[in-house]
Amino acid sequence: MNAIEEKLWDYIDGTCSAEERESIGKLIAGDAVYQKKYRELLALNAEFLAVELDEPSMAFTYNVMETIRTENAMQPLKARVDKRIIRGLGVFFALTIGILLVYVLTQVNWSAENTIPVQFDFTLPKIPDYLNGNVLMAFIFVDIIVALYLFDSYLRKKLTHKTAH
């Protein structure tokens, strides 16, 4: 019986192929069992179609719009920045940089004759002179302080994370 109903529902819903439709149509016309079942399902189909939709409360639309308005009002200014302003600022800076670049490039004298010779006379300081025992001690002392500070902040973070969960 299920197979018959399945075929008939396909026929009623229009989800079968043209050939299937034709063959089921013939069965309905010629077979009394099919005919009876078809009428039964057709009546059921009409009943399903006649079911009425439920109506929400009168203030439904107002409530939704009010929620949306409240959300919009509560939106932080940071999230409401107009994208056009950002784009405008971008264009302004790009133009300024471009104009400056063009101006600087036009001011440069590209001929090699006017090159100013630069003279470097730089000697590296003698580092071993500064690295005595006291400096090394101070360096190690600062290192220990920094290490202790970092360890302390790590422990504090761990503790905060634990209490939060």
């Binding site: 059921l44 399903f48 949306i68």
Partner: protein
């Protein structure tokens, strides 16, 4: 008064900043969204909350709607996911008295829906009550198919299933509805005799 603008035109106007256009969209779809929510929540208050939540979510995500499918299909998929989340949450919140609560809610819903006894006894009333007693998924498929004018493919898209699965579920749901209606009407006839 309903606007003659299409859903897409109303969406464009909403995105351009006209909130009134979104209010028209809500009015156009609220009955259906509310009915779908009722298939999951059973109680009117919960259903209204779900339906409102759906419209707020849709408003927030309106810019992401790609207009390739119908707005209703997109909206119903939001209804489905929101309702499923509601059901999951409810299952976690409630204990063994859950069934009893649902039964009471069903009774309240039915009695509050219409006080006209003659209408309550009509065939349409029984069909509606039988749909409410189906599994939420099956009730949703029946509602989408018959009242939402959605094809099997569109229902599949809404519910994230294969079209063939939807077809099988629709068939089974109709079978169950038929059996329930036969049982109920037999019982009613006996009472009358």
């Amino acid at each position: 008064m309903q606007s003659k603008l299409t859903d897409i035109e109303l969406i464009d106007q909403t995105l351009a900043g006209n909130q009134g256009a979104y209010a028209i969209l809500i009015k156009r779809h609220q009955r259906f969204v509310f009915t779908l929510a009722l298939r999951f929540a059973k109680g009117r208050e919960d259903a209204e909350e779900i339906a409102q939540d759906c419209f707020v979510k849709a408003y927030r995500a309106l810019a992401t709607f790609n207009k390739q499918s119908k707005f209703s299909t997109w909206l119903y998929s939001i209804v489905y996911t929101t309702s499923m989340t509601f059901l999951r949450k409810k299952r976690l919140d409630t204990s063994s008295i859950d069934d009893e609560n649902v039964y009471i809610q069903l009774e309240n819903h039915s009695s509050g829906m219409d006080n006209n006894l003659a209408e309550q006894k009509s065939r349409s009333f029984y069909v509606n009550r039988a749909i409410e007693q189906l599994l939420p998924d099956d009730a949703m498929i029946i509602t989408l198919f018959y009242k939402g004018e959605q094809s099997l493919e569109e229902i599949a898209q809404t519910m994230g299933m294969e079209a063939n699965t939807v077809k099988v579920k629709l068939f089974r749901a109709r079978q169950r509805l038929k059996e329930r209606l036969e049982q109920t009407l037999k019982h009613e006839t006996k009472e009358l005799v």
